[in-house]
Symmetry: C2
Subunit: 223 residues, 2 copies
Amino acid sequence: MKLAALFSGGKDSTYAAHLEEKGGHEVPIFACMRPARGDSYMFHGVNIHLTPLLAEAQGKPLASAPSSGEKDKEVDELRRLIELLNVNGVITGAIASNYQRDRVNVICGELGITHLSPLWGKDPQELLETEIKSGMEIIVTHVAARGLDQQWLGRRIDMKAAAELKILGERYGVNVCGEGGEYESLVVDAPWFKKRLEIKKAEVIWENTSGTYIVNEASLRNK
Amino acid sequence: MKLAALFSGGKDSTYAAHLEEKGGHEVPIFACMRPARGDSYMFHGVNIHLTPLLAEAQGKPLASAPSSGEKDKEVDELRRLIELLNVNGVITGAIASNYQRDRVNVICGELGITHLSPLWGKDPQELLETEIKSGMEIIVTHVAARGLDQQWLGRRIDMKAAAELKILGERYGVNVCGEGGEYESLVVDAPWFKKRLEIKKAEVIWENTSGTYIVNEASLRNK
């Protein structure tokens, strides 16, 4: 089956695409919505300008479209992009968000294609550890939850970080995979990447209780 | 007919897409190859990182893929991108390059879709003046021809510039539309753009007899 992977550059969309490809599906293209607002219900927008490079790092073309980020409109905007692609289905990295999953299901139903969400229903702690063990080099690019302070921005999510997230999860109810928007991530390399993303310039912006690690300059490096 | 416009951000691809849309075709998506080398036979690569913004300025999604820029490979790379799109045809801004036109014809023939090249065979001087009159705000981003010096980089192509190009064409045989690679251009605004591109930081690089105007920082502004 020929599938387009919905791709934000974060750990879950990156890993979901990889899993389906490993499982034997063809994933000839990534697709990405670029929300104009930070509070989109559907799409992760932090560092979304890096997706052309990150798709290239994985040897994939990228179809991308701006999205208003407005609740009623953004689902239509996603449908319009997907229906321009010559694929039999769409992969998403949804784990527990019924909101996202239901809407992609409706779009795929209308277009007569499949929706695969290989991470759906996984235990967050186990999933995060599996993602780390896959060899993905994951960094934190946004935090917005109690217990996640400025020191997390730009930090690599390794097993030590996963253990700390587990404690924060138990203490404050933080979802360790960031599924509720507690944090956002960026995958800069993985064993299946053809090139790795080199971050050359980044800045940290902190406002009240949340912060963002914005990559201002980056390029691909051969491995 | 639903068409994908091959799009580099330059005046000819921008104008060709506009013409077909004005003529009644649906142009729901732009497509762009990002050559890894400056001497690609098929694709214009200067400031190609701006195409997501420039497509957004025109309200279009963009499908893009890296290209090796190697003569034998890049045509295959283009075919692979086009066959991922759910369209009935492709628009190109080719004016006189048989090399590009023939190869896109072959790809479209193999995929059973149409190739439209509305600028094909036009008189270069007349075409350039028509493009200027269309209201496109065109700037020069690369020069590589006798008579085109550093002062042309970043310069707006208006009727005065077109008259100077005509004189240079007569004197040195420069194609006034830059079809032989004499110069490359960037369209930062046009009456049909929803937003205009604001260039915030740019640098000029000059080597021997050619030079490039590289946009380092840009964003979209509402009109």
